[in-house]
């Protein structure tokens, strides 16, 4: 018996047991055949299983429902990403972002300037170096470093020239 046939058998057995169970229950409570909930649930269940079977047969899905759910999540996020990407690549969006940036800078700019000047005044009063003085000092150090580096390079070139001359002199002397 193949796997598919075995599954069919199992399902048929389950359906028969459900039907028999309902019959027994109805006899027990002496009720005539009334609203049979399984009549409502079974078609839905059947349709869901048919749909899932189609998806599996087309190879688009995984029998593992959890993996399927993760794939659905990934595809949703990707779809959202595409939609947002299309919206953001428009000139309208770029213009709106530019206007927002402009307004933000118009607001932040004066506040920053005000804060900086009041900080400078405070530090001056406390006889402490200001931020500008520290950064200027750093810039001086950087330019000193540059000059040392230039000197180092010239010395290296000089040493190279002397070595070359030495080699030439030695070659000349041996010749």
């Amino acid at each position: 018996m193949s796997d598919g046939q075995m599954n069919q058998e199992l399902l048929s057995m389950w359906k028969r047991s459900m039907d028999q169970g309902i019959e027994v229950w109805q006899k027990l409570i002496g009720q005539p055949q009334t609203a049979d909930i399984s009549q409502f649930v079974r078609p839905l269940w059947g349709q869901s299983m048919d749909l899932w079977t189609q998806i599996l047969q087309q190879g688009a899905g995984s029998p593992d429902a959890i993996v399927q759910w993760k794939k659905f999540l990934d595809d949703s996020i990707e779809a959202w990403s595409k939609v947002l990407g299309q919206a953001m690549e428009t000139e309208g969006f770029a213009r709106a972002m530019g206007q927002f940036m402009d307004q933000y800078l118009n607001t932040v700019g004066p506040i920053r300037k005000g804060l900086q000047s009041s900080n400078e005044e405070f530090l001056k009063t406390m006889n402490l170096p200001s931020r500008k003085q520290v950064t200027d000092l750093a810039s001086h150090l950087v330019s000193l470093e540059d000059r040392l580096e230039a000197l180092e390079e010239r010395i290296e070139d000089l040493v190279d020239s002397i070595s070359l001359l030495e080699a030439l002199v030695k070659r000349g002397a041996s010749a």
Binding site: D3, P63, K70, I77, L84, M88, A94, M101, L105, A138
Partner: protein, 363 residues
């Protein structure tokens, strides 16, 4: 009767069992990440400091006995945006470690983290003052006449400008996901357009380009990135190796660095807005940068799903140079996938390493 393609009963049970175990592991590792976070140990490949210039540093990797190729490699990464330890994430997932294992004499230029005192640093100075010093140090230290310049991302336009101004020093040039034609640079081309973006106002207000604003800009490129990152993290939380990689990459991905003001002003105006590089209109140090002066072998590597530097933006270098030995390869993945991750190790690094190795004998 309908044939229902159901899983075997045994398979279903096994799947449920596996999923239950994974969920327990997810919970345990998740709690560990939250309550006992470990600082990732990054950049562990042994290195030696060769030279320091202000905030920039030149490092040499590897040991003398392991070096088999005569031509040293100088890697020029992006200045600002992020730190360069992405190239040396952790053992087994390090581009630098891989390259050194292939026998290359490898140098990395770490631009450093610039402060307010560096806001006057320009793109011009980086190419005409810092790069020449570093290249000179590489050649002196390795006793070589020429080097291979490997640029990644923004490091490529920096490196290619240097190569165009000093072609005699460059044996080979490799561009990994570096923008060359800025009219094809995707969303940044639109957003930084001079009609919409006032770069002068930004730099004059802040002095530089703050790291937080750099972060916002990159987050906007892919707003769902964080969501998919954490979804994938939750999905793979049971996998210790995955979590180790995530923690390392996440640290790097959230550590943004600022741009010096004048550098950023020149970068946006002359590259994104006026696209001077590919049009040969860029003037650096009083000299015109002509990409046609590059005649050395050139390799350009683009990433198919790169939304930061679309492949056509990087590929433009192939048409701009006069080299006869030039090659373009496009590989699957995004911007970072060329330099980090399992895909990079499998698809990218061997190709780049092989290409350079074939052209690394001193002339």
């Amino acid at each position: 009767m309908t044939e229902w393609n159901l899983p075997k009963p045994g398979e279903l049970t096994k799947t449920l069992q596996e999923e239950t175990i994974k969920n327990i592991q997810r919970f345990s590792r998740g709690m560990d990440l939250i309550y006992n976070p470990k600082e990732p140990q990054l950049g562990r490949t042994p290195k030696e400091l060769i030279h320091k210039k202000n905030k920039s540093a030149l490092y040499r990797y590897g040991h003398g006995s392991d070096r088999r190729h005569a031509v040293p490699i100088l890697m020029v990464p992006n200045l600002g945006i992020s730190r360069p330890y992405i190239f040396d994430l952790y053992p087994g997932s390090s581009f630098i470690e891989y390259i050194v294992q292939q026998g290359f004499d490898f140098y990395l230029l770490d631009w450093g983290v610039f402060g307010e005192e560096d806001n006057g640093l320009t793109f011009d100075e980086c190419v005409t003052k810092i790069l020449p010093v570093m290249a000179r140090k590489v050649l002196r230290t390795s006793h070589a006449r020429q080097l291979t310049l490997l640029g990644y991302c923004m490091g490529s336009p920096l490196g290619v400008c240097y190569a165009a101004l000093h072609p005699e020093q460059v044996k080979n040039f490799v561009n990994m996901a570096g923008p060359i034609d800025f009219k094809q640079a995707g969303l940044f081309t639109t957003w930084l357009d001079k009609r919409f973006f006032d770069i002068d106002k930004l730099v004059d207000t802040f002095g530089g380009m703050p790291a937080d604003m750099v972060r916002v800009g990159f987050k906007f490129l892919k707003p769902t990135m964080d969501l998919s990152t954490f979804t994938n993290l939750w999905w793979h939380l049971w996998d210790e190796k995955y979590v180790e990689g995530f923690v390392a990459l996440n640290k790097w991905a959230n550590e943004y660095t600022p741009f010096p003001g004048e550098f950023f002003r020149q970068w946006v105006k002359e590259f994104y807005q006026e696209n001077k590089l590919v049009k040969n209109e860029l003037i650096l140090g009083g000299r015109r940068v002509e990409l046609s002066r590059i005649r050395c072998p050139v390799l350009v590597v683009g990433a198919k799903q790169d939304y930061i530097v679309p492949p056509e933006c990087a590929r433009a270098l192939i048409d701009a140079v006069e080299s006869t030995d030039k090659e373009y390869i496009e590989l699957p993945g995004g911007h970072i996938s060329l330099i980090a991750g399992r895909g990079a190790k499998r698809n990218v690094w061997p190709k780049v390493s092989f290409w350079i190795a074939q052209r690394s004998q001193q002339g």
